[in-house]
């Protein structure tokens, strides 16, 4: 992955920048000791790293605004950061930028059960939002697998999803309002506690803008009352086609499970060896979870199992209590870890129309042969969001590049069959240069026009999302 050449002019201004920041922020908020900034050199796409000029970790929105104003005046690019778990290189710095992290801003500001919302500072982790309301019977629905670590800031920037978004939607569907600081240091409030923001839907476009429009410091999030209970059923099939057809039949029958997860044989094998979850030895398996009272769970599971029965499953295993449920989820939850045991892996997340599942899985299998790299597939089947995990050996020269080429081919295939490059991880640097495959120049221009409005100098996270060539003129204007 190519990154723009850092600007010597900006690098030369480092000491001036640091002293200006230190003059107005508490000393511990401004870091440029190389030992301390190391942790900020990369995110979860750890094949790419770069030391920033410095790191700023403010306590308040006003401090964020102050820091941004200085960077704006000095033409210094700013890379916003939550917890740094992006898989797309979203929070990867450049050598002429600073990292602005919200990790110190993690308070719950308001909890309102009658109106079902919480207002939090965005450095708070996803899981601890639920943690703050759980004892009273509530939860925050979007649940990325990284929820223990990732911050609401990154969730909003990436419009993150999770296993349960088939029923509850992704971040955007659960976000009511934000406080955002523009690159010029202007503090703007969008939306609020009511269910619809006034006028033009700026909230909708801010969510998923990958830290390129402003630094989000506070968020109003919808919370929901917890369901009475939830139980999964595991169903094994002897082909991907049949498993795919079963998913489609369940959806058509009007059952709306909270999650439908799909694992293929390579992934089942790997997780079996690693986690010993006792999964059946089969081509494909589905884990389908439903919610409600015991009676409602029973009613839905019966429907699902009778639909599955028509597809000759090799195994149907329903959970009767939370222990059995945990065992069914064990393999799925350790899938990434299991694949990581075998080798280094790259995780893609292209989305496809669900009807194209069998075809795409077959093509991925064929390409895996051609490239000579193994792939396991584990994904959210209900919404077509795939997660092919390509295995490679990072220590062997050329393998990372080969893996990236293979990944690019898979993503192009997703677009070809009517899908998209990324369903929940975001574009970052990783898929930036593939955007041309999904969008025509006018489509990209319409998106970049929004950035022009919020960030006319293109200083916020500039080398992300758009193909470098497409954004070059805009990024270079200050130089």
């Amino acid at each position: 992955m190519e990154m723009p050449i850092p600007s010597d002019f900006r690098i030369a201004r480092k000491s001036e920048l640091m002293s200006r920041l230190r003059a107005v922020l508490p000393p511990e908020c401004v870091i440029d000791d190389p030992m301390e900034t190391r942790a900020y050199e990369c995110d979860a796409l750890s094949a790419y790293r770069c030391a920033p000029l410095g790191v700023v970790l403010p306590y308040t929105t006003e401090q964020v605004a102050t820091a941004l104003k200085i960077c704006f005046e000095m033409d210094i690019p700013v890379v916003p950061r939550g917890a740094g778990t992006s898989l797309a290189g979203g929070s990867l710095p450049t050598a002429d930028s600073i990292i602005l992290g919200v990790a110190r801003m993690n308070d719950v500001l308001e909890t309102d059960y009658a109106n079902r919302f919480v207002r939090v500072q965005t450095g708070r982790t996803n899981l601890s939002v639920t943690g703050a309301v759980e004892a009273d019977g509530y939860f925050y629905a979007p649940d990325p697998s990284s929820q223990l670590a990732c911050a609401i800031a990154g969730n909003i920037a990436m419009n993150s999803g999770g296993a349960h978004c088939l029923k509850y939607g992704v971040t955007s569907n659960n976000l009511l309002g934000v406080r955002l600081v523009t690159m010029q240091g202007e503090i703007v409030d969008i939306g609020g506690a009511q269910l619809d923001a006034a006028g033009m839907d700026l909230l909708g476009v801010i969510c998923g803008s990958e830290g390129q429009l402003g630094v989000v410091t506070e968020a109003t999030l919808r919370i929901l009352h917890k369901p009475e209970g939830a139980l999964p059923v595991l169903i094994g099939f002897d082909s991907n086609e049949v498993a795919g057809a079963c998913v489609s039949d369940i959806i058509r029958a009007g059952v709306l499970p909270v999650a439908i997860e799909f694992m293929d044989r390579p992934c089942i094998r790997a997780t079996e060896e690693f986690a010993k979850a006792g999964y059946p030895d089969c081509e494909a398996l589905l884990i389908i979870e439903v919610e409600g009272s015991p009676l409602e769970i029973e009613e839905q599971l019966e429907k699902i199992m009778s639909i599955a029965a028509a597809h000759d499953p090799v195994e149907v295993r329903r959970a009767n209590d939370s222990d059995e449920a945990a065992r069914i989820w064990l393999g799925r939850k350790s899938a990434f870890g299991a694949m990581g045991q075998i080798n280094d892996y790259m995780c893609l997340d292209g989305t496809i129309p669900v009807s194209k599942l069998p075809y795409v899985l077959r093509r991925i299998g064929e390409m895996s042969q051609q490239f000579g790299l193994g792939v396991g597939n584990v994904f959210h089947a209900g919404d077509g969001n795939m997660h092919p995990l390509i295995l490679y050996n990072a220590n062997e020269p050329g393998q990372l590049e080969l893996c990236e080429q293979f990944g690019a081919e898979i993503l192009k295939l997703c677009v070809e069959v009517g899908g998209c490059l990324t369903g929940e991880h975001g574009v970052g640097i990783e898929k930036r240069d593939l955007m041309d495959h999904q969008f025509a120049p006018d489509d990209l221009e319409a998106q970049m026009a929004i950035k022009d409005v919020f960030d006319p100098k293109w200083l916020l996270n500039p080398a992300k999302v758009f193909p470098l060539a497409a954004s070059e003129r805009r990024r270079d204007q200050g130089l």
Partner: protein, 365 residues
């Protein structure tokens, strides 16, 4: 000059060629406010392009009549789960709503509190911007974070950023069973207590509304038979402390929500028509501040449709209550004024998308 393009390409040529203001209409059923300019109708850009019931997705050209979409979905026992609000009855407009108009107005009904708004169901758009350029964003898959979400920006932009030519959206199954708890409530405070009590349970309520004209609170539960019976029983117990509860089944239940969808209780009445959006527990404060002649509250109290005397300054009366007010019938500006630092952004976006300043001028900002 009026235009009736029959394709997106033709629409693009029309917009490219003109410097006159354009008034964009789909079916003309939501034209609350007259807009000056040459009329451009999207009704000729019509037809369902793709429908995958097993994927819960449909793609249709913007001018496709809503009734055609709903009939096609109904054959597969599916629906637009956000229950597009219908304004035809209350505005006395003739013609048929188009799917493009539904999304351009982000017209969400009662199920918004549980299933989401129109904007949450919109997956992809194709539109012609004010310079005549054809732009696409989003797609036809349910999860998509590839680039900026212009889909949401276009939803609810009322034709001021671009003319929708094609939309793709998510649909949901029609539930087997629908039941509605009906209770008397004399004042908005009690009504909101009942509604928020029900929303704050595990029972997945899909509608919570108060028809102040009839003095009735309605709570809807939908799903499979046993589940609906269980949940309506459980809710009945919880709210019985507020008074007697009737349970309306199937036809009677659905009829209640159709009335709310059409704002029947506010039809054939004089006065201006407003909608105020606030957090639910502020609903009663809104009613006290404004004293409407008639009103109906949806979204658990957070969306209040009201008739007020002609010319009343609803926004002024709201005072410090956080939220916004939209004027559908009356002389006030249709949309709530934005704070200055937001207006700077929305104005600049409008200039980018509509450089000739010709799209539905004056409607939004």
């Amino acid at each position: 000059m009026d235009y009736q393009p029959t394709s997106e390409a033709e629409l693009s040529e029309i917009v490219k060629a003109t410097t006159n203001p354009l008034a964009i209409v789909g079916g003309g059923t939501r034209r609350a406010r007259p807009v000056k300019g040459d009329m451009v109708s999207t009704a000729g850009i019509s037809g369902i392009v793709d429908y995958e019931p097993g994927a819960l997705t449909m793609v249709a050209r913007a001018g496709t009549p809503l009734f055609e979409i709903e009939a096609t979905l109904a054959k597969e026992n599916q629906q637009l789960a956000f229950e597009p609000l219908s304004l035809a009855g209350i505005l006395g407009s003739s013609g048929h709503s188009t799917i493009g108009g539904v999304f351009a107005a982000n017209a969400s009904g009662s199920r918004r509190i549980q299933a989401g708004a129109a904007r949450d169901f919109l997956l992809g758009v194709r539109f012609v911007d004010g310079a005549g350029k054809i732009v696409k964003n989003g797609g036809r898959v349910m999860k998509n974070v590839t680039g900026y979400d212009l889909v949401k920006l276009l939803a609810g932009s009322w034709g001021t950023l671009g003319i929708l030519s094609e939309v793709s959206f998510k649909v949901l199954p029609i539930s087997d069973v629908s039941a509605t708890l009906s209770m008397k409530a004399d004042d908005p405070k009690t009504a909101i207590d009942i509604m928020t009590t029900c929303m704050n349970t595990a029972f997945d309520v899909t509608g919570a509304a108060y028809d102040a004209v009839a003095g009735c609170v309605y709570i809807r539960i939908e799903g499979f038979e046993k589940s609906v019976a269980y949940r309506s029983g459980a809710l009945q117990q919880i709210v019985s402390k507020f008074g007697a509860v009737d349970i309306l089944e199937m036809t009677a239940s659905r009829a209640v929500w159709t009335q709310i969808q059409n704002l029947s209780m506010l039809q054939n009445r004089d006065g201006d028509l407003w909608r105020v959006s606030v957090k639910p527990t502020d609903g009663a404060n809104v009613v006290h501040a404004i004293s409407p002649d008639a009103y109906v509250m949806d979204w658990s109290g957070g969306s209040i449709w009201m008739r007020v005397s002609k010319g009343m300054d609803v926004r002024g009366a709201l005072g410090s209550i956080a939220g916004h007010a939209t004027c559908y019938v009356g002389d006030a500006a249709m949309f709530h004024p934005e704070p200055e630092n937001v207006r700077v952004l929305t104005d600049a976006i409008r200039r980018k998308y509509d450089p000739k300043a010709i799209l539905n001028q004056g409607l939004m900002g």
